[in-house]
Amino acid sequence: MLNIELCGIKLRNPTMVAAGIMGSMASSLNWIYDSGAGAIVTKSFSKEPNKGYSNPTSVGVTGGIINAIGLSNPGVEIIKKELNLIKKEIPKVASIYGASPDDFAYTAKEVEDLVDMIELNVSCPHAMDGCGAAIGQDPDLTFKIVRAVKNEVSIPVLVKLTPNVTSIIDIALSAEKAECDGITLINSLGPGMKIDTETATPILKNKVGGMSGPAIKPIAIRCVYDVSQVVDVPVMGVGGISDYLDVVEFLYAGASAVQIGTALMDKGPQIFNEISINLENFMKIHDFKSIDEMVGLTHRV
């Protein structure tokens, strides 16, 4: 009842773990799948290893957290070994980032045979060296990166966009024009900042960090609603999901699948099982036969 097909890939349910959440190791991604996720998304990785920022990299704010991990990862060579350790039956999305179209294309090509889809992270609000949101705030650069990767690989390519732009619709249309196979909305919000009032010091080492958690859900819902109305490719909804009703809201807004991140803080991987059970129950009560019937329902009522 929960199963979907996304860019030609069959998923047992429409939930995935969001990029950057317990996602650098095969071990934790296997655990997440065993706990009920429909697919896994790796933490974003790059050609070379990256230690990321020093701590503090995370701090609580009302309705969520802000973080500036800085895209730490061991580099594509080591990630390939981890990807090999992820169970074969798991639908896998590799989240990748880089500083140039060539970087993206190289890294995507390296893992093409090991995963089912690529997700381009052009939108991290706390990336170093121009690797992050600076790309996803520029429709032309977004276009070039999608094209470069599409030219290199034949598996589906998703693009994850930042909400921190004047018009997310423009960026999404640019990505679609470059023939991306799907759009993931949204990366973390802001960036935001929290200052310690005893010392006047910004708490995060990077001063600012991307905001995630339930507080950003209204922004994510609006982005999904707006973008899904103007693009033909499927949209993945992400931002502040912590229960099945949040998933329903994203589906109604136009998301074909959803990603869950910060909620693992309190609920752990078990949240995927919980959501699947409750979502199926909700569908029965509301007479839905398939997830597809729910996708974009708000556009049709």
């Binding site: 950057g20 959440i21 317990m22 996602g23 650098s24 190791m25 095969a26 071990s27 934790s28 991604l29 296997n30 655990w31 997440i32 933490k43 290893p49 990256n50 230690k51 990321g52 020093s54 701590n55 503090p56 990299t57 995370s58 701090v59 609580g60 704010v61 957290i65 973080n67 991990i69 730490s72 990862n73 061991p74 580099g75 080591i78 350790l85 929290k194 310690d196 005893e198 010392t199 010091t201 708490i203 080492k205 991140g261 910060t262 693992l264 803080m265 752990g268």
Partner: protein
């Protein structure tokens, strides 16, 4: 929630040649702030932030103690602080020791691994449990908490690698002796993983349950970043840990083998 509380250092105790304990006033009335033995805090010195065990939980005086071994630039910076200086404390975090209905416990700490063992022991004794403690160190002036835990009512057995104080030899040797003459229904241990591995093997031989306390590089400490996940269960040291039952080690195959650095690259022991 999850915001460092910036507090003034109330007292600093010099525990050994390389270990100081920093004492802070603490509000135990806030249930979210109430630590259990085995939990940890993220300590922020306005430059960096790292997980540290809670070595003292003093409900009577509304104080907590964080013991810091000077082993690098962060801990060295902390050692330069004085009374009245400020430090940020975020937590408590993690899954601590379980007490169930054990009666007689052997607690084994190696080096700075004695920190959670100290708060565990005092808490257990307050709850009328019998606790024998093995405090192990490389040499005599690194031994921790001997007087404090004796005063609390534990039987403290020291051992040093070089024999400069107490038993000469490893914690496991001392443990073997104690197991000859005592019947324990629980062993808890924190220290180098190689040491804990020995403790677990010996305990298994004697059919005694063991809880171990681990550490890994941490970033968020909130269970999301994945930095402290271990192979091959994927468990998070900051959430499912830092304290595990020895039986769980079947699912922590990297135990006593390797750890990951900040970028996720494995460093083998």
């Amino acid at each position: 929630m999850h915001v460092p509380k910036v507090l003034k250092i109330k007292k600093i105790l010099t525990e050994s040649k390389s270990v100081k304990t920093f004492i802070f006033d603490w509000n135990f009335n806030d249930s979210l702030l109430k630590p259990e033995p085995g939990q940890f805090m993220m300590i922020w010195n306005f430059e960096d932030e790292k997980p540290m065990s809670i070595s003292k939980i003093d409900f009577e005086n509304n104080e907590i103690g964080i013991s810091i071994k000077n082993i690098g630039s962060f801990t060295n910076a902390l050692h330069q602080l004085n009374n009245g200086d400020k430090v940020g404390i975020r937590g408590p975090y993690g899954h601590g020791f379980e007490f169930n209905d054990f009666k007689k416990i052997l607690a084994i700490g190696g080096g700075i691994g004695m920190a959670p063992i100290a708060s565990f022991t005092e808490f257990a004794i307050k709850n009328n449990l019998d606790v024998d403690v093995i405090s192990a160190a490389t040499t005599s002036n690194e031994l921790l908490y001997e007087d404090r835990l004796n005063d609390a009512g534990a039987n403290v057995f020291t051992c040093t690698d070089d024999g400069s104080c107490g038993f000469k030899g490893f914690a496991t040797h001392r443990m073997e002796d104690l197991l000859q003459n005592n019947v324990y229904d629980l062993i808890v241990t924190c220290g180098p993983e190689i040491m804990m591995k020995g403790v677990v093997e010996l305990a298994n031989k004697h059919n005694i349950s063991v809880q171990i306390s681990m550490e890994r590089w941490m970033k968020c400490a909130l269970g999301v970043c994945g930095q402290c996940c271990v192979d091959d269960s994927g468990w998070r040291i900051c959430k499912e840990g830092p304290v595990f039952w020895a039986d769980d080690l079947n699912n922590i195959k990297e135990f006593a083998k390797y750890k990951r650095d900040s970028s996720g690259i494995r460093n083998y022991y």
